[in-house]
């Protein structure tokens, strides 16, 4: 992952973060809200190699940690997404690349979004945070999974396009 692409990817993630915090958070969807940012980040992580996925996870997590509405300690999302990045990249190497299959990829992103929220909840519990009842938390995780599943096909081609634009000629090969 070249430093230029790292910078461009970070700027893109921050742009998505601003959209998430300013626009999407205002829309009251049934069950719970939708996190565009989580879906985009998981998508970008899945398209990277092992080193790129870990770095992208860390930076993406740091941007998410900047959320002013977050009550969790700064660095919690960075920790979670560094691990998620490593796990995704390691498993992609063993199970094969399915990112070119749209349905599998959308399902993967939706599941990843839900699982990352569940891990966030688990880490929060270990750090002594109160996230409400387990039932409510499960509803939030499930709702996020559902909305990600529905909305990801709409923006997935855009994410792919943006990522391709950031690739260097060497990385394209």
């Amino acid at each position: 992952m070249s430093p230029v692409r790292l910078g461009v990817s970070t700027a893109f993630l921050f742009f998505v973060f601003v959209i998430q915090e300013s626009i999407i958070s205002r829309v009251h969807l049934p069950i719970t809200g939708f996190s565009l940012y989580l879906a985009v980040l998981i998508c970008l992580i899945a398209l990277e190699d092992r080193n790129g996925a870990v770095v992208m996870g860390f930076i993406g997590g740091l941007v998410l940690d900047l959320s002013p509405t977050s009550q969790s300690p700064f660095g919690q999302w960075a920790l979670i997404f560094t691990i998620i990045g490593y796990v995704i990249a390691s498993n992609l190497e063993s199970i094969g690349d399915f990112t070119s299959e749209p349905i599998s990829f959308v399902l993967f992103i939706a599941a990843g979004s839900g699982i990352s929220l569940a891990i966030y909840l688990g880490v929060g519990l270990m750090l002594g945070e109160n996230s409400g009842s387990l039932g409510r938390a499960m509803v939030v995780v499930f709702g996020n999974f559902l909305w990600t599943l529905l909305f990801t096909p709409l923006f997935l081609p855009i994410i792919r396009k943006v990522r391709e634009m950031t690739l260097t000629s060497r990385e394209r090969l």
Binding site: Q20, S22, H28, T69, F74, G75, T82, L121, R136
Partner: protein, 319 residues
């Protein structure tokens, strides 16, 4: 070669994990640079949020209306019935109102409704990627808003200010799981603690085992020291279901908040609580006593000059 790459990956992973843990530790220890980064983000985001609030506000409200369509229709029917009932009650209440006004004077419980507030527009809601329930307001420290101030809507309590920047502030809603407030049951005067549960329902647990709760009981905020974070006398919610579980030492109940947190457009931050509302039981204090010492003077032998006498309103101590 592959092994070397794998080792590099692991080294990178460990480095980033350690960095994350370091950041968490620094934040938990209260290093200002780390904790201040969110305030900086909020400062950057608030103008964008304000602009998008104007543009996308109608979209958000439309989604909310679609979501609550059936509920709103049923609510209108209920409200019409309640309105007719209240009209009849209002006639009967006029006598009680007079008595209440007198009672208020006697008990010196004035002050309710005389809060000094700063009104603000809701320009953002808590991110879906966290479990916290928050809203963002378009007013901050420049409007006199400070951390730990009470936020109210036209119906009652909304939450408490948690983060303040120059032109925006973040409010922790009463529905947040970490939210706790001391409440008083208006009917029985029992005291309890109301907790947010992450959704539209709340639970209240009485502190006194002998206290009682009934469906329809109104809950009023007790207030905090120096009125921060909570001012006293605010309508909080109404009891909708009483839990009769015998295993609990004290009674608990499900509560519906007076404020509809899903439809907040304009809210007010109480920047100055009423100064006249009694925070502690008022002890009757005696009126100041004026002691007049009168020295008996010899009667004037020459008549014509009137002799001054002490006023009857003063207490006399004669020697």
């Amino acid at each position: 070669m592959a092994r070397g790459g794998s080792n590099r990956s692991r080294l990178l992973l460990v480095t980033l994990l350690v960095s994350s843990l370091l950041l968490i530790t620094l934040d938990l220890r209260g290093v200002s640079l780390i904790s201040g980064s969110r305030s900086v983000t909020q400062t950057v985001l608030s103008p964008i949020q304000k602009a998008t609030s104007d543009i996308f506000g109608p979209v958000g409200r439309f989604m909310s209306d679609v979501k609550n369509f059936g509920k709103t229709k049923a609510e209108i029917t209920d409200l019409r019935a309640a309105n007719a009932k209240l009209k009849n009650q209002a006639i009967l209440n006029s006598d009680i109102k007079g008595q209440l006004a007198q009672l208020k004077k006697v008990l010196d419980l004035a002050g309710r409704g005389s809060f000094k507030v700063a009104s603000a527009r809701v320009i953002g809601r808590g991110s879906a990627s966290t479990f916290s329930q928050t809203i963002t307001l378009d007013a901050g420290s420049s409007s006199g808003i400070r951390k730990n101030m009470t936020v109210i809507s036209e119906n009652g309590l909304v939450g408490v200010v948690k983060v303040v920047t120059t032109n925006s502030s973040i409010v922790l809603l009463m529905s947040d799981p970490t939210f706790r407030i001391g409440v008083r049951v208006a009917r029985s005067q029992s005291i309890g603690i109301l907790k947010g549960e992450g959704a539209n329902s709340y639970t209240v647990e009485l502190l006194d085992p002998a206290g009682s709760l009934k469906v329809g009981d109104s809950l009023i905020s007790i207030g905090s020291d120096n009125n921060r974070p909570y001012i006293p006398g605010l309508p909080v919610g109404v009891v909708t279901k009483v839990d009769h579980t015998t295993t609990l030492l004290t009674q608990s109940a499900t509560v519906k908040a007076y404020s509809n947190l899903n439809e907040l457009g304009i809210v007010s931050v109480v920047v100055q609580a009423p100064t006249t509302a009694p925070k502690k039981p008022i002890n009757p204090t005696p009126n100041p006593t004026v002691t007049v010492l009168v020295t008996p003077a010899p009667l004037p032998t020459i008549s014509g000059t009137p002799v001054s006498t002490p006023s009857p309103s003063t207490t006399k101590a004669k020697k």
